[in-house]
């Protein structure tokens, strides 16, 4: 039972299509308020810092170029990373898909006889649905990121990739903590709530010997992992335990240590509107006497190499998971993340999720956009999200139109009819004439249409439509030409 009473399905294979999934959200004023408030705050912070940074556009250009170069030479850089990481004392594993990644992680934990594991927030582990798998196998995973604790204890699903609990407000957090931590007089002041989380976790940090993290970046040159965070739970997890497992998508690799000078600058400003996030930890392999003495990296493919192969779509993999796109998205601002039915919501989710599913699922997501372009404008690595959305839309159409049932779908019928009409001027003009005649049935005395059937009804749900004017422009022009002769 989720605490906010809302039960989204974040499995793209099972989630309802976006237009359906948004309906309960749009009718939830509290949720919409929580999301809009969070979005407005981050947007304002980001805008301030981006304005301040005179070389922001140059950083974006370099950010995109560094990521493109890494992707274009991904095999070489991954092998280099593996080589350096292993030389530094780490063990690198390769997982072709989610199931294999889960098995590898579990087998490492079983080797350590682990019954518990502490986790630094990693969306990649949510992508592979790790926690329930571990739980079923007898290993309890404890989230240590404040937002992730809120979600875990409140039985909630993440709705944003940087601030996953933004749909939960302070009194809801208070209720979740009071209940699960057994704290009777807990106030809803964020300070008190944070203090409660701090003491709750301290014991876990000091006693649990195995930890799982994600990676913001993998540095090929040094075999290093970089973890970017704010709270310090990351530093706790990667310093105190005996065994550390880092799960990372193969696209996370950057060529050299120096490239962090671009990536860190754009990530902090884009993600949290700060010049630099509080803590960034970078480490290669194992250092005797300092930190985990057993270190494993699990490299995850899970559909990424197939995205890499596609010309327009490859840019999707540049993503550094900053969430600036969803913070700027007018659609996301109204719907929050759950409606996307994936751990990756918003604009990046709309292109990444269906592709990770090899276009077998989540086909409604490329349409979950008005193509306004705000995301492209803010993306620190210049992913042209609208361009990829359009490419994916054409793939969905090509898939769907093969189905005999789609032949009579009003959208498909309409598109074919319109194309025919546009192919010849006389057909277009005839369509205008008959269209006007047909719509006359629905046109009121005031010259406006208040209700239409079928697809048109989706318009008239909330908007009127002015009745078609008697004389299209081209007719007026032709008449005028005649007059002047």
């Amino acid at each position: 039972m989720s605490h906010t009473g809302y039960h989204p399905v974040l499995d793209p294979a099972l989630a309802p299509p976006f237009p359906k999934a948004v309906l309960p959200v749009l009718r939830n004023p509290q949720l919409r308020k929580n999301v809009a408030h969070a979005i407005d705050v981050i947007q304002a912070k980001r805008a301030r810092l981006v304005t301040e940074k005179a070389d922001w556009q140059e950083l974006r250009t370099s950010g995109a170029a560094i990521r493109d170069h890494a992707l274009a030479n991904l095999g070489t850089y991954l092998e280099q990373f593996e080589d350096r990481c292993t030389a530094a004392g780490g063990t690198v594993h390769w997982a072709a898909d989610a199931a294999e990644a889960r098995r590898i992680i579990l087998s490492i934990l079983k080797q350590e006889s682990a019954s518990e594991v502490i986790k630094i927030k990693t969306m990649t582990s949510a992508e592979i649905q790790l926690n329930p798998f571990l739980e079923a196998a007898g290993v309890k995973a404890y989230e240590t990121d404040l937002a992730e604790i809120i979600l875990q204890l409140g039985n909630e699903e993440p709705s944003h990739i940087v601030v996953p609990a933004l749909h939960v407000n302070r009194s809801q957090v208070r209720d979740i903590f009071a209940q699960s931590m057994g704290l009777q007089n807990l106030s809803d002041d964020p300070k008190a709530l944070t203090a409660a989380a701090r003491s709750y976790l301290r014991k876990k940090f000091l006693t649990v010997p195995t930890a799982i993290s994600g990676a913001n970046f993998l540095v090929a040159e040094t075999g290093a992992v970089a973890v970017v965070e704010s709270e310090g739970n990351g530093r706790m997890c990667l310093t105190l335990p005996r065994t550390m497992i880092t799960l990372a998508g193969i696209e996370k690799v950057i060529p050299r240590f120096q490239d962090l000078e671009v990536m860190l600058q754009v990530l902090a400003r884009s993600a949290t509107g700060e010049r630099m996030n509080p803590y960034t930890s970078i480490w290669s392999g194992v250092t005797p006497g300092d930190g985990p003495q057993h270190f494993h990296v699990v490299l995850l493919d899970n559909g990424r190499s197939s995205i890499l192969a596609k010309k327009t779509e490859r840019q999707t993999l540049r993503c550094i998971r900053c969430a600036a796109c969803m913070n700027s998205c007018p659609v996301y601002r109204q719907t929050g993340g759950h409606a996307y039915g994936s751990v990756y919501p918003g604009p990046i989710g709309a292109i990444l999720t269906p592709q990770l599913m090899q276009m077998n699922h989540a086909q409604s997501l490329p349409y979950a956009s008005s193509l306004c372009g705000a995301c492209y404008e803010v993306c620190p690595v210049k992913i042209n999200i609208p361009e990829v959305l359009l490419e994916l839309r054409s793939q969905v159409v090509n898939q769907e139109r093969r189905h005999p049932t789609k032949f009579f779908d009003p959208m498909y019928l309409g598109m074919r009819a319109a194309n025919l009409a546009f192919s010849q001027a006389w057909l277009f003009h005839a369509a205008q004439f008959f269209g006007r005649m047909g719509l006359k049935l629905f046109t009121g005395r005031d010259g406006w249409i208040h209700h239409l059937p079928s697809l048109g009804g989706k318009w008239t749900q909330t908007r009127d439509l002015r009745g078609l004017p008697k004389q299209p422009f081209h007719t007026w022009w032709a008449a005028r030409q005649k007059e002047t002769k």
Partner: protein, 250 residues
């Protein structure tokens, strides 16, 4: 100066008054206008919904139609964005060398209306008179795709009698998004509601823009809600004078 008007499929059908205003305005400025009688559509609706093959047919037709034209003027930023941003990719994928060459020579000759006025004719004061309180909505294609910048404001500033009120959250999408408005009608309406709040807060009499697509969406809601505000394409404001006020005012 000679120019050919591409009215766009939806203006031709739904907003002929915008076309009439463009004609009145440009002829007043001494432009010799013509109108290709066989024009239909630029292909945007099909392209944006994923019907690339169909969009290509329309794009091909457009490019061939305007091969010999000096200048094409289009009172719709989204159609201009389609031509500039998507035609090259379409022709790369589905076209041939000849089409690509034809497109390359055509692109510099295609202008959105405000671009045509400010850049090509070089005029900002078009002699307009529109004594009303107006707020301007920056459509996303005009703002981010073709980067109209301050052109609309430079034109609006010179309109006599007009009181311009800035629109809060100017760069936020109104929610139209083409077929998005029906495929995701509820979200589109939610975005529209938010946008309408900002528009209504200006207490303007008219909300204007350079795209009738956004205006149809905003105006449709205004009409449904008896909001007491109307929409009008910027061309109609610019065409309006003391002796010949905009059709919307008569």
């Amino acid at each position: 100066m000679r120019a050919s008007l591409f009215i766009t499929c939806y203006n031709d059908t739904l907003f002929p008054e915008t076309g009439r205003a463009v004609v009145r305005l440009l002829e007043r400025l001494g432009v010799e206008l013509d109108f290709h009688p066989k024009q239909t559509c630029c292909g945007q609706m099909h392209a944006n919904t994923g019907f690339r093959g169909e969009a290509f047919c329309q794009a091909k037709r457009f490019v061939r139609m305007y091969q010999e034209t000096d200048v094409v003027v289009i009172p719709s930023s989204s159609c201009v964005a389609m031509i500039r941003d998507q035609y090259p990719g379409l022709f790369e994928e589905l076209g041939n060398e000849e089409l690509r060459r034809q497109l390359a020579t055509l692109l510099p000759r295609v202008f959105e209306l405000s671009e045509f006025l400010v850049d090509k004719i070089g005029v900002e004061d078009v002699g307009a008179y529109f004594p009303h309180r107006v707020t301007y909505h920056a459509s996303c294609h005009g703002l981010r795709a073709i980067h109209l910048g301050d052109r609309p404001w430079r034109l609006m500033e010179k309109v006599r009698g007009m009181e311009q009120v800035p629109l809060p959250n100017l760069d936020r999408c109104c929610g139209f998004g083409g077929t998005f408005s029906v495929k995701n009608a509820e979200v589109s309406s939610a975005m529209l509601g938010v946008k309408l709040q900002d528009v209504m807060s200006t207490r303007a009499e008219f909300c204007t823009a350079l795209d009738n697509s956004c205006l149809m969406h905003l105006g449709g809601a205004m009409h449904r809600q008896y909001a007491g505000m109307r929409t009008i394409h910027l061309a109609e404001i610019l065409a309006s004078t003391e002796t010949e006020p905009a059709e919307a005012l008569r």
